[in-house]
Amino acid sequence: MNLNATLIAQLVVFLLFVLFTMKFVWPPITKALDERARKITEGLAAADKAKTDLSLAEKRVGEELRRARESASDVRGAAEKQAAQIVDEARTQAAAIVAAAREAAEDEAAAVSQRAKEELRAQVAQLAVSGAERILRREINAQVHAELLSNLKQELS
């Protein structure tokens, strides 16, 4: 173990190596490490945020779904109501038509029977006159007794 100038040389080499490390090795690596640490922190924060965003979105979707379901049932209820109304209206209309038809038929039937009655009455009057003619033959003048016959006809109606 003898000391010599190697000691001084080693001292210089050591300092040079330290300066090299300080300048070209340490800063880039620590910078990369810090940068990576920052990125990881940001990534974790982003993941957290995404998780809360997702749960919020899920909540909103549920809300929307509920609302859609509600409005669908509303629409269906309204449609059913409207359908029932239409059916009711149709039914009343049909009833009205039927009633009107029946009335018209009754009116017609009444008119026909009236006419038949009048014809019958006229024929009865004629028959009565002709019967009376046969019975009375010459004694009765049609012109003289026209007023009488018309009165009779009036009475029969």
Binding site: L3, A5, L7, V13, T30, L33
Partner: protein, 299 residues
């Protein structure tokens, strides 16, 4: 076994083998004679530490170039783990974010570099010295004088050089954080405090200053010597293990026994050394952070 080959080739004794392995390639053609000689330089230590610094720096740079905020690959991820480990340790021991911009890369550099230099122990003991001896002989020199030590941290010059650098950095931060006056005041008033009585104040000042100087010396010496001691001892044990195989004299019971011992002990020590290599690199880094952290705190 390489050791056995070399010992056989050169006809070395065990002592010569170890002594050969413990001699640096320093241009003087042998061992350094004086304890301290500033005219000598260990080329092998310098070469391997520079090569490993370049290699480590290149690998780190590759990772730094490819590091992005996107998902990292395995390689970048591994380097990032290392950097996060160092950054966490630095954060725990140094509370000034501005100082950390220099000290954290310093700690990373120490860990990577010391680890790589320690890890040279895992190369086969004689691999690089034998290659060097071959090159030396090819260049027309005597291969017996081809000395090479591959583990830079087993050289006290390397570890003390780093420890002294750390000391200088600590002194710099002492002045920077506390100001020249503040630090000077701390040198004479801590750890025992001061007194209103001028005589006692002077006395305590001397004691405090002495304590502070001893503390700085002890810290720096233990810092450098701990790493050196561990790696030197580890290398020495690898040499001793290699010597077991080097006792081969032919196919006989003692030779086979020693050869098996070489394999078992070499494997066990290498596995244990994985821990030592990593732990010593980590300890050197942590002590650096602790010392620099202390420089930031007033007593």
């Amino acid at each position: 076994m390489a050791a056995e080959n070399e010992a056989a080739q050169h006809g070395m004794s065990a002592g010569e083998y170890i002594s050969h392995h413990l001699t640096y390639f320093n241009g003087t053609g042998g061992k350094q004679q004086a304890l301290i000689d500033w005219g000598v330089i260990n080329y092998d230590t310098l070469f391997f530490s520079v090569v490993l610094a370049v290699l480590g720096g290149f690998v780190l740079w590759l990772a730094a170039r490819r590091a992005t905020a996107a998902t990292p690959g395995r390689f970048v991820g591994a380097i990032e783990m290392l950097i996060e480990m160092v950054a966490d340790q630095a954060k725990g021991l140094i509370h000034s974010a501005e100082s950390r911009r220099f000290v954290a890369p310093l700690a990373l550099t120490i860990f990577v570099w010391v680890f790589l230099m320690n890890a040279m122990d895992f190369l086969p003991l004689d691999l690089l010295p034998n290659l060097w001896a071959g090159a030396y002989a090819a260049a027309g020199h005597d291969p017996h004088h081809a000395y090479l030590r591959a583990v830079p941290t087993a050289d006290i010059n390397a570890t003390m050089g780093m420890a002294l650098t750390v000391l200088l950095i600590c002194l710099y931060y002492n002045v920077k954080i506390k100001g020249l006056g503040g630090w000077a005041h701390e040198l004479v008033s801590a750890p025992f405090g001061t007194s209103r009585n001028p005589l006692f104040a002077l006395l305590l000042g001397f004691v405090n200053l002495a304590m502070q100087l001893i503390e700085f010396c002890a810290k720096t010496l233990s810092h450098g010597m701990r790493l050196f001691g561990n790696m030197f001892a580890g290398e020495l044990i690898f040499m001793l293990i290699a010597l077991m195989g080097a006792t081969w004299t032919g196919l006989n019971a003692p030779s086979v026994f020693m050869w098996l011992g070489h394999i078992v002990a070499g494997f066990a020590w290498a596995v244990f050394h994985i821990l030592v290599v990593t732990l010593q690199a980590f300890i050197f880094m942590m002590l650096t952070l602790v010392y620099v952290g202390q420089a930031h705190e007033g007593h």
